[in-house]
């Protein structure tokens, strides 16, 4: 049972267009163990985000489905929290209030006011945002907003954490900081994570497995790469590691030799 925590079973999706249905995904099969960190990588437009949105329940698969802990899920819900690429914080609420909105919704029956406050503060501390809890999104940097977005998702205590290019819009240094924070948190909480990225280093550094997708239309899973590097991983030490570089090479070879960017043709 443990090794079939989340299952994507023959997931295909078609979008109606003026020229008839457009098949974006073709029979995606993927099984995640509990506590596993999986990255989805592929060229732009290959349907990575579509996969994530189907798991989140924001899109409905045309055929196939998502099974979480032996139950099919079709609607969005806080058990599959999403960290959006552009943070998606409500700009009229402070960092604290943004997390509070989620906590109040998820734990309305289980926690009293004091417990909720403690839980909100705990999650903001986890992402190192306790010093700026009462600031609004417009008053904090992009990296800080993304931290709050992660805190909001973690505060839902999700079964699966879905991250859609969470660090894509950040500069390299901020991104490295946040990747380190994410690794710490994941080690602490043993969360099950699906992350979309197109950064090869990020994928290798963070993941237990990297799922490489072919170019669309009708994108499929091309290859799955097991990253067998010991944790905790240190980005400086690992960059000199032969295996690490071998994994990087594998992913790069898939992306730039086997699946050339469609825009290059």
């Amino acid at each position: 049972m443990l090794n079939r925590y989340l299952e994507l079973s023959k997931v295909s999706i078609e979008f109606p267009t003026d020229q008839g249905p457009f098949k974006a995904l073709d029979e995606i099969d993927l099984i995640l163990k509990q506590g596993e960190f999986v990255s989805l990588i592929g060229h732009s437009g290959c349907g990575k985000s579509t996969v994530l949105n189907i798991v989140a329940g924001l899109y409905q698969a045309t055929t196939g489905g998502i099974i979480l802990e032996n139950k099919e899920v079709t609607d969005p819900g806080p058990d599959r929290a999403v960290v959006f690429q552009n943070h998606s914080l409500l700009p009229w609420l402070t960092a604290y209030e943004n997390v509070e909105l989620a906590v109040k919704q998820v734990f309305k029956k289980d926690k009293n006011a004091a417990e909720m406050k403690e839980w909100i503060e705990h999650n903001l501390t986890l992402v190192h945002m306790d010093h700026a809890m009462h600031k609004r999104p417009s008053e904090i940097s992009g990296g800080m907003k993304q931290r709050v977005g992660i805190a909001r998702a973690l505060a839902m205590q999700p079964k699966v954490l879905l991250m859609d290019e969470p660090f894509g819009a950040l500069d390299a240094l901020t991104r490295a900081h946040l990747q380190d924070s994410l690794m710490e948190i994941q080690a602490d909480l043993n969360s099950t994570v699906i992350m979309i990225t197109h950064d090869v280093d990020e994928a290798v550094l963070l993941s237990d497995r990297i799922v490489m997708m072919t170019n669309g239309p009708a994108a499929r899973i091309g290859e799955i790469l097991e990253i067998d590097l010991p944790r905790p991983r240190n980005r400086v030490e690992i960059s000199d590691n032969v295996e690490y570089n071998h994994y990087r090479h594998e992913v790069l070879a898939f992306l730039y030799e086997k699946q050339r960017n469609p825009a290059d043709h």
Binding site: G57, L58, P78, S88, L90, W92, S138
Partner: protein, 340 residues
């Protein structure tokens, strides 16, 4: 003390006064003078030029009511309108004094005597008309907003609802108040029948006509604002499984507030213009009636008095817009956006 004064001024939207206050407190006086010269000096020069042009042109135009009044005559009329109001107030006070004295006397002779208390029925002055118009436009605007904002939210949330109702809105939107007026008059006369009316019939008619015309900008802008909530924020709400009511209050309304206020300010502007026209046509008390009465009166002072009314109408419209802008500043979450 200084800080609070400046903050209050900023909040209520009188930012133009800030450098003046700072200058008076001798805070970076040179910088303040530069700011003042561009913010106050330039408009002052423009106004002066306008007054000169007005004086020059008006002296060349002769109407059947005499020469078109220039700034000086208009100023004269404005003071005389205020004096008239004061005289009227004195008359009113004197009337009540006499009445009281008479009644007291009556009761002194016979404690059981039935005394009558009559209200003063002098003609409303210019100042009275101003207040009548302001109250009417605010009531009409509030009625319209109470209908338009919830309806706009529903239409923005439900595409089907919007598709169904939008053609109706689009047809009624361009209708002139003057076309509504006869219908509103007849309907109010037929429906609003009481022996002891809380509001004058004319007031109800004016307010409803204003509402009918200032419903649309708020309604359509709210709909657009609600329909264009960022899809990512809607996804956040879906992931959280927010109840539709929480969704509306926490996500939809705050995010559409800028558009809502654009609509409200357009509505207020429309409503104010509509009201003056309604009062002129229906002879309902207010500034519009004042203008019409002066026009019919046709004395040599009439044009000057009408011009005073025109300026006051403009000024009140401006103040009403400013008030809404201040309200917007209070409820708006995006403090970085300059509201203008």
């Amino acid at each position: 003390m200084k800080e609070t004064t400046l903050k209050t001024l900023e909040k209520i939207g009188f930012t133009a006064l800030i450098p003046l206050i700072k200058l008076l407190m001798w805070d970076e006086p040179k910088k303040q003078i530069v700011i003042l010269s561009s913010r106050i000096l330039l408009p002052a020069v423009a106004i002066a030029l306008f007054l000169i042009l007005w004086a020059g042109v008006s002296s060349q135009i002769n109407t059947s009511l005499g020469q078109l009044p220039g700034p000086a005559q208009v100023w004269e009329q404005s003071t005389s309108l205020i004096t008239e109001h004061q005289l009227e107030q004195e008359k009113k006070a004197a009337f009540y004094e006499r009445q009281e004295a008479r009644n007291a006397k009556k009761l002194a002779i016979n404690p059981d005597a039935i005394v009558r208390v009559r209200t003063y029925t002098g003609a409303p002055t210019f100042i009275d008309q101003i207040f009548t118009s302001i109250i009417t436009v605010i009531v009409g605007f509030l009625i319209a907003s109470f209908i338009a904002i919830p309806l706009g939210i529903f239409c923005g949330l439900s595409e089907k609802m919007n598709n169904a109702l939008n053609p109706i809105f689009q047809i009624f939107k361009p209708v002139s108040p003057l076309a509504w007026l006869p219908i509103v008059t007849m309907v109010v006369s037929a429906v609003y029948v009481t022996d002891d009316p809380m509001f004058a019939k004319s007031f109800v008619i004016s307010a409803i006509t204003v509402s009918l015309c200032c419903l649309w900008p708020t309604l359509l802008n709210t709909t657009v604002g609600v329909a264009s909530v960022e899809s990512d924020l809607i996804n956040v709400s879906r992931v959280l499984r927010l109840h539709w009511f929480t969704h509306t209050i926490k996500i939809v309304v705050p995010s559409s507030i800028p558009m809502m206020f654009t609509g409200l300010r357009l509505s207020m502007g429309t409503g104010w213009m509509v009201l003056i026209a309604t009062e002129m046509l229906a002879q309902n008390p207010g500034l519009g009636k004042f203008v019409w009465d002066e026009f019919q009166n046709g004395s040599s002072n009439s044009l000057g008095r009408i011009m005073v009314a025109v300026l006051v109408i403009g000024l009140i419209g401006f103040i009403l817009d400013r008030l809404l802008m201040t309200a917007q500043r209070f409820v708006s979450w995006d403090k970085n956006v300059e509201i203008r």
